[in-house]
């Protein structure tokens, strides 16, 4: 019996799993490095020809600053779990499998991606193969490439991670890309709006730690770097707390730095797109964020330091003109009253 060509059974799929796909074992190994700390992962690094990371560097990257969970980068609040993780779990169920504990961890996703590739090659019927190839394509588009653009843009600057990130990018970029007319991944299609000039302070802070709202990733290390650049004190704490302290100290400078950061990210996505439409989306989102942050920075203007380590304390409930502290104001007036610039 001659099996139908896969191209016949998969309209829109440029290429089935075949010789150009990255080997399953490579994908598994790359995933494993994101979850197994040295020295247990040293043999894997060696097999990949990568220098072994130190345990501290591994923890800094994969545990503290950039935990490789899809939900953090695709979730509407930038948190672990939630709908973004449920979507991945749903895919497991759709495949007839029980979702594992961390379905949206990069290691799990790459392992599943690898297994689907193997299964597609070894399955017995063309129909099963078509289903597996399709599932693999969906997994790549919806749950991997959808967030690896920002992730692999952020990761290489961490010690010991550059080679790993390069291989990840090569492996994912090596796969057939999506057609221009294919829809965006659901998480991006249904993404929450970008920050708005009308956002109050809490909304702004929430957005700044939510990659999908601003199009880029702000890490602890970035904030430390920003403080050094613009001469602000960096209060130790979770990122939202640190950012709030910086905005208290000098909103214009902080917002200006953030806008510049967003512009650089927007450019970076365009330089090395992982997948056309998806990369364009992230680039556009960062660009929009840059424009809005610039706008807010301009309207805020230079301000006295009213809070923070370097300024005198102000009474609770006091407000800087134009900034609203939701802890005392309700209903929430907009941060600024002027219309935001149009975002294309």
């Amino acid at each position: 019996m001659t099996e139908p060509a896969l191209a016949d059974t998969l309209p829109g799929e440029e290429q089935a799993v075949g010789s150009t796909a990255p080997p399953a074992e490579l994908l598994r190994a790359l995933g494993a490095l994101s979850v197994v700390p040295p020295p247990a992962s040293d043999p894997i690094s060696a097999a990949l020809g990568l220098a072994a990371m130190t345990a501290a560097d591994h923890t800094r990257l994969f545990v503290l600053d950039l935990p490789p969970y899809a939900s953090i980068y695709l979730g509407r609040d930038g948190n672990l779990g939630g709908e973004a993780a449920d979507r991945v779990a749903g895919m497991w169920r759709a495949l007839g499998l029980d979702p594992p504990a961390d379905p949206d961890h990069l290691a799990t996703l790459l392992a599943l991606y690898a297994e689907l590739g193997v299964a597609a090659v070894t399955c017995r019927t063309a129909a099963a193969r078509a289903r597996l190839v399709h599932a693999r394509s969906v997994l790549r588009a919806e749950h991997l490439v959808s967030w690896l653009d920002p992730y692999l843009t952020a990761a290489p600057s961490y010690p010991g991670a550059e080679g790993w990130a390069r291989l990840c990018q090569a492996a994912m970029g090596h796969e057939p890309r999506r057609h221009a007319d294919q829809p965006l991944p659901a998480a991006l299609r249904d993404a929450p709006r970008c920050i708005q000039p009308t956002d109050n302070l809490d909304q702004l802070l929430d957005s700044l730690v939510t990659p999908i709202r601003i199009g880029f990733v702000l890490t602890h290390r970035d904030l430390q770097h920003a403080g050094n650049q613009i001469g602000l004190g960096v209060r130790r704490g979770e990122r939202r707390y640190t950012l709030r302290a910086m905005l208290d100290q000098d909103p214009a400078a902080t917002l200006g730095w953030l806008a510049g950061e967003a512009r650089q990210w927007s450019t970076a996505y365009r330089r090395h797109p992982l997948d056309g439409a998806t990369s364009r989306w992230w680039s556009a989102r960062a660009s929009s964020a840059a424009i809005i942050l610039d706008t807010i920075a301009t309207q805020a203007g230079p301000m006295p330091r009213t809070r923070g380590t370097r300024g005198p304390a102000v009474p609770t409930g006091s407000k800087h003109p134009g900034m609203t502290d939701t802890s005392v104001a309700s209903p929430e007036p907009p941060m600024f009253t002027s219309a935001p610039p149009a975002i294309s």
Partner: protein, 982 residues
């Protein structure tokens, strides 16, 4: 932004890198090291990949920290420890050629690599120190425990001579094979058919026939196939998850459905494992389940949630109106009004009064069921259907709900099992026997779903016949049936049973009384095919002697399964071929032809040819799948153990009848379509109802629905039979509709000091009669206390768990330990049915029998007592684990104290008992039993009095409706009522 993106570099050679990682992983794993940890170990299934099944390397856990490798061949087979037929993978040690362990077979579509505790415990059975390894012949009196080893030739020649004489002398009805654990679908029936003997007897009437009956009257097919995985509402009436039938395949699919938000509703008087996982656990008064179902049905109808389009098209409402309302309007609106009126009385208040479940809970459950739409999966098997007089109406009213919702063969609905089962046509199909076995199919039970097997001792005592040669096949009638001591009376009476041949892998309470004990193999030592309904698809599984397959992989030629099995353990396929040849050595009786090779006429059929033919000619898609892998179809099945034939069968009843089947059509006023066209030969010979032809001999081919001839259901009307013309015509018009029959243990039938004893449940870690030969299972569960609600315990003056109680039935009593628990309804006690294994003093010389109590059995005419002499204790054997037996209590064999209760319609033994529970008396000991078999015979007569025999009620002078399913259906002419007084 800091430096983020790596400089654009040439793409690395990913293929080479992949190879390097593969090599590194292989090297690490070969050293017994783990290459990937944590989430990176994610694989679609954590099973050895098939390409490594020839040489699979594992480390010996007991040798840690030394790294001692085990190299195994992985050979698939099928579990034999319940009906699910889950896939097993035997790990055959490449050096010793012994099975090291059994795990799940990932290639099996039903079980998908998962097993319950019973599967891996096959290893215990294989290595059981008590197993029977050689043919044994009785040396002293029956039951004296004296045996001598015999050769297979001696056994075969002796038994064949008896059978040949019986056949030649026209005493076919003196031959009977009684089946316990089913093997291959239809195999034993075909052996008997080849002998011209209607001698198939099954255990089904002490098991599932009550459940089957309700489904058969609706659909013409006697089992449901719920699509649990896709259901919104799962409705189960069973003791535990379908009482162990399909426990593993269904449990995993129910778990999936629950993860997707499905609601699970369990009706079980006892808090079963399944009930603990349910959204609603209803603990009804035993026997009231049908009343609850009907109240839910009324709610569906009253609230407009019935799927009227489905009802209109697929129910036989026209036939109902024509028969029961001939003078009224014959339109659908009239039927709807009638339906509402018919069930008006089944209010929640009525159901609450019958069941003891409060109205609000019933209303909540009804609302959930009503909202399920077509994603309503339901099942009722043993439990209520097997416990109560009229229990078959429990499954009939369960399916009533599915039929009202249109949830029939829909995603998440309930299918007739034949849609999801495939029994491949075998190489030879002998004709129907030309005799009728009245010991199994007596005239009093014309509608019985299965053989009246549990009445056999009473029929023999009544002088209705005798048995020259009686086989039991992996069956233990003394222990399994109610009233086992009556069985013992007839098995020890050579005038009633001339020769008793026990085909069994292990000793049991019945085999001790046999004349011949012939060792048969366990799951890894025999051939069978299986196919069961476990989701909307069809698969065939293959059981095989794994050492045979392993040695063949190594290039050896095996021609007889005994060459690889331990001792001289055999399998039935080869045994029956050989036995049939010895019955008819020259072929003159016409028997041998069905056991001959097709390739080499005149030579014996081999199992390789038998299965090779079947897999090549009768399993669609298998030859092609095998060819892709360069295998023969048999080679493929030996390699993978299972094959999925179809998936997503859908509503086959709605398929249009092809033009080529339409010839000289006759269409009745109710739309039943008959054709003169021949029936296309089907490769699937799974059993279904066989609607009778029209008066001119045309066969029933379909039904007219909306102007199109569709396949319909294998019922007389071709539709779902809300109204059973069969029940109406055969003397039971009052039960022709789904209804409620008050149980023999209805509160109105109980004396003030009586309670109901539930005995139909079992534990999912137990095999019916073979757990005592499985040490792991025995360690998990080995006793069966009597569940007593605290309120009842106070009433019975039982103060604490572990106190001894005496439970008195109509024919005797047993003494057991109390378990005081709120997991049972007040007024009801419960005792698990698969404990209390024993051997008679004296039989302990035969084998260690280490996990059965040794009892003294005393008889004074019809009065019997059983008293434990020794409880189980550690003992020495080749297995060091027998020194580690830490328990002594093996429970009580309560079935001995239960009289037979044949349901007059389904023929099912109604297991529930009205009992009195009291504190044990001075001198009572745990496990004590006393039975009066004359009282047992009297109870038998009382129940027989309620039957409506074919001689009086048959509408067409036949013994039984010809369309009803029946194992080993005899030739048409045998259906005629016998001449003489009826």
């Amino acid at each position: 932004m800091r430096s983020r993106r790596a400089p654009h570099e040439p793409t690395p050679d990913l293929g080479a890198l992949g190879e390097r990682v593969t090599a590194a992983r292989a090297a690490a794993e070969a050293r017994g090291e783990t290459f990937y940890q944590g989430a990176s170990q994610t694989f679609l299934a954590g099973f050895p990949p098939p390409e490594r099944w020839d040489d699979w390397v594992e480390l010996d856990s007991k040798s840690w920290p030394q790294r001692v490798e085990h190299r195994s061949m992985l050979v698939p087979t099928t579990c034999f420890n319940c009906e699910s037929a889950c896939g097993l993978l035997a790990y055959v040690d490449r050096d010793s050629l012994q099975v090291r362990k059994f795990e799940g077979n990932p290639a099996h579509p039903g079980s998908r690599g998962r097993n319950c505790a019973k599967g891996p415990s096959t290893l215990n059975q294989v290595t059981d120190p008590d197993r029977i390894l050689y043919p044994l012949r009785r040396a002293g009196e029956r039951g004296a425990g004296k045996w001598e080893r015999a050769s297979w030739d001696e056994a075969l020649d002796t038994i064949a001579a008896r059978l040949r004489a019986a056949i030649i002398e026209g005493r076919q009805n003196e031959i009977m094979i009684h089946i316990g654990r089913p093997g291959e679908d239809g195999f034993t029936e075909r052996v008997l058919a080849s002998w011209g003997v209607d001698g198939h007897n099954s255990h089904t009437n002490v098991c599932s026939s009550g459940g089957r009956t309700g489904f058969q009257f609706w659909t013409g097919i006697d089992r449901p196939s719920p699509d649990h995985a896709n259901a919104k509402v799962i409705y189960l009436i069973s003791s535990h998850l379908e009482t162990g039938h399909y426990f593993n395949p269904h449990a995993q699919r129910i778990t999936e459905a629950r993860a997707k938000g499905a609601k699970v509703i369990v009706l079980d008087t006892r808090l079963s494992n399944t009930a603990t996982h349910a959204d609603f656990w209803l603990s009804p008064q035993p026997g009231s389940e049908a009343a609850i179902n009907l109240a839910i049905a009324r709610h569906i109808i009253a609230t407009g949630r019935a799927n009227w389009d489905f009802v209109h098209d697929w129910w036989n409402w026209q036939e109902y109106l024509a028969e029961c309302n001939p003078d009224g309007f014959q339109d659908f609106e009239t039927f709807k009004s009638t339906l509402i009126e018919k069930y008006e009385a089944f209010t929640f208040e009525f159901a609450a009064a019958e069941s003891g479940i409060d109205v609000a809970t019933l209303a909540d459950v009804a609302e959930i069921v009503a909202g399920a739409g077509t994603a309503f999966s339901c099942h009722s098997w043993r439990s209520a259907a097997a416990g109560n007089l009229g229990g078959w109406q429990v499954s009939r009213t369960v399916f009533f709900l599915a039929a009202l919702l249109g949830a029939v063969a829909t995603p998440g609905g309930t299918f007739p099992n034949a849609y999801n089962k495939f029994v491949p046509r075998p190489i030879h199909v002998p004709p129907h026997p030309k005799v009728w076995q009245e010991l199994s199919w007596p005239l009093e039970f014309p509608l019985a779903q299965n053989e009246l097997s549990f009445l056999l001792p009473h029929f023999l005592k009544d002088g209705r016949g005798r048995l020259d040669t009686y086989f039991t096949r992996v069956y233990n009638p003394v222990w399994t049936n109610p009233d086992g001591l009556s069985w013992m009376e007839v098995l020890t009476d050579p005038d009633k049973v001339g020769c008793y041949v026990a085909l069994t892998p292990t000793w049991n309470e019945s085999a001790y009384f046999a004349d011949w004990v012939l060792p048969m193999g366990h799951a890894s030592e025999r051939h069978d095919t299986h196919s069961y309904e476990q989701y909307d698809g069809q698969w065939v599984g293959f059981r095989q002697p794994v050492l045979r397959a392993a040695r063949e992989r190594m290039g050896e030629t095996i021609t007889d399964t005994r060459q690889v099995n331990p001792g001289e353990v055999w399998e039935e396929n080869e045994f029956y071929i050989e036995l049939s040849w010895r019955i008819d050595p020259d072929g003159s009786l016409g028997i041998r032809q069905y056991h001959e090779s097709r390739k080499h006429p005149g030579e014996k059929l081999t199992v390789d040819e038998y299965y090779g033919w079947m897999f090549t000619h009768s399993v669609p898609g298998l030859p092609e799948a095998a060819a892709v892998e360069g295998l023969t179809p048999l080679g493929y099945m030996r390699r993978y153990g299972a094959f999925e034939i179809t998936k997503g069968r859908g509503a086959l009843y709605a398929e249009e009848v092809p033009v080529e089947e339409r010839e000289d059509l006759h269409i009745t006023s109710t739309g039943r379509v008959y054709t003169a066209g021949p029936k296309p030969e089907s490769l699937n010979v799974g059993p279904i109802g066989a609607p009778e032809p029209d008066d001119e001999g045309r066969r029933a081919v379909g039904v007219l629905v909306g102007g199109t001839i569709r396949r319909g259901f294998p019922t007389p009307s071709g539709r779902l039979e809300f109204y059973s013309s069969t029940l109406a015509a055969w003397g039971w018009p009052e039960h022709a509709l789904p209804g409620y029959i008050r149980s023999h243990v209805h509160p109105a039938n109980l004396a003030p000091d009586q309670v109901v004893l539930l005995s139909t449940f079992r534990l999912p870690t137990q095999i019916h009669t073979r757990s005592a030969n499985s040490k792991w299972l025995n360690e998990l569960s080995h006793t069966n206390p009597v569940w007593i609600h605290p309120a009842d315990a106070a009433r019975f003056d039982v103060t604490r768990t572990g106190d001894l109680v005496r439970v008195t039935t109509d024919i005797g009593y047993f003494v057991a330990k109390a378990w005081i628990t709120e997991g049972i309804r007040p007024g009801v006690v419960a005792c698990s049915h698969h404990m209390g294994r024993w051997k008679v003093t004296g039989h302990d010389e035969v084998g260690p029998g280490g996990m059965m109590a040794t009892v003294d059995l005393a008889r004074d005419t019809d009065s019997w007592t059983v008293q434990a002499r020794h409880h189980v204790a550690p003992y020495d054997s080749a297995d060091p684990d027998t020194r580690r037996i830490w328990w002594s209590d093996t429970g009580v064999h309560q079935n001995l104290t239960m009289p037979v209760h044949p349901d007059p319609i389904s023929g099912m033994h109604c297991w529930h008992q009205a009992v009195r529970v009291t504190r044990a008396r001075p001198g009572d000991a745990h496990g004590d039993i006393a039975v009066d078999t004359s009282k047992a015979h009297e109870v038998y007569r009382q129940w027989m009095a309620s039957t409506r025999a074919a001689g009086t009620y048959s509408p067409d002078a036949t013994r039984r409706p010809a369309w009803l399913m029946r194992p080993l259906k005899p030739a048409a002419e045998t259906f005629a009522l016998p001449a003489g007084p009826r």
